[in-house]
Amino acid sequence: MKAPARAHPLWIAYIVHRLSGVALAAFLPLHFWVLAMAVSDPGRLDGFLALTEATLVKVAEFGLVFLLAVHMFGGLRVLALEWLPWRPAQKSLAAGAAAISFLIAGAFFLQAV
């Protein structure tokens, strides 16, 4: 039997949290590789950082900051759900976490361009 309808806010919050976590984990090796250039080959690092002026890279950075923000606020929501004795308004908090993430990522993007 097919799975029940999943288009409800908490299920979406769940899947966004998992996928953003996996995506961030996948990004980390690249992140450390570039950071390591600062020690091993500063000249190459400067060349690499020049790439960040490209629009495509800026858009990718927006996505990265969004992933970080949505994972952090979604994680805070889950921590609050599990550690604070509350029950209502879970959907609003999930939506709020997404909204704050968009705000931060959007602010970063506007500042970057």
Binding site: K2, P4, L10, W11, R18, E82
Partner: protein, 236 residues
């Protein structure tokens, strides 16, 4: 009713089978399934008893959503004039729409969803303070009728056959908060194991689809807090 015939698809052992069922103004999904069994194919197997949302035996997947078929009006779920009915998800199928509820009830017991009495007939009845915080928590989940709708809705159950599931864990939380139950150590031990409350990802499908509007997700969150407190501050 936009049409006088319903196009009903029922998942059976040999795959989905289609039926044309007369549509009426007042008609539940259970009425539709019963019409098929009584007029089209007497070999169709399904399960029901009370027909009024008290017994919890008629739950099925209706257009992909677990529901009590007896309390689901056809007009609320039809997709055009089409309805797709299947057996509850996450449970072994016995035949057609009848599932084997044994795993569900076995987990109910495995989560210590049984009464742990400490008094004898000579003792006076335990005093229950209706206004206490623990009683409010216990009352919140006490109307569960074991229909397994939440169990069928849960993706964590689908992914982990050992997971106790929302209904059993909610009952454990209810008993943990019940002044008449003295099994708190056994309950916390039962729900903190491999298949216990910490498997829950708080997807909330249990709470969304519960026909009694109960909130197993929050009950499981309560168990997570209590098991963690037990682990950090009282040792295991």
């Amino acid at each position: 009713m936009p049409s006088d015939v319903l196009h009903v698809t029922i998942d059976r052992a040999n795959g989905p089978e289609s039926f044309e069922v007369p549509a009426y103004d007042n008609q539940t999904v259970l009425d539709v399934v019963s019409w098929v069994q009584q007029n089209a194919d007497p070999t169709l197997s399904y399960r029901f008893a009370c027909r009024v949302g008290m017994c919890g035996s008629c739950a099925m997947m209706v257009n992909g959503v677990p529901r009590w078929t007896c309390r689901t009006h056809v007009s609320k779920v039809t997709d055009g004039a089409a309805i797709h009915v299947g057996p509850l998800r996450n449970l072994p199928i016995i035949k057609d729409l009848a599932v084997d509820m044994d795993p569900f009830f076995d987990k109910w017991v495995a989560a210590e969803g049984v009464h742990h009495g400490g008094l004898t007939r000579d003792d006076s009845i335990a005093v229950v303070d209706e206004g206490s915080a623990t009683r409010v928590e216990a009352n919140a989940g006490i109307e569960c009728i074991n229909c397994s709708v939440c169990y069928a809705a849960c993706d964590t159950v689908a992914g982990n056959a050992d997971y106790l599931g929302p209904a059993a864990l909610q009952r454990a939380w209810t008993l943990l908060n019940d002044a008449k139950d003295e099994g708190s150590v056994a309950i916390l031990d039962a729900v903190s194991g491999d298949g216990g409350c910490h498997n829950c990802h708080s997807m909330g499908s249990c709470t969304l689809y519960c026909p009694n509007e109960l909130d197993p997700m929050s009950a499981i969150a309560g168990l997570k807090r209590e098991t963690a407190k037990n682990f950090f501050w009282r040792g295991r």
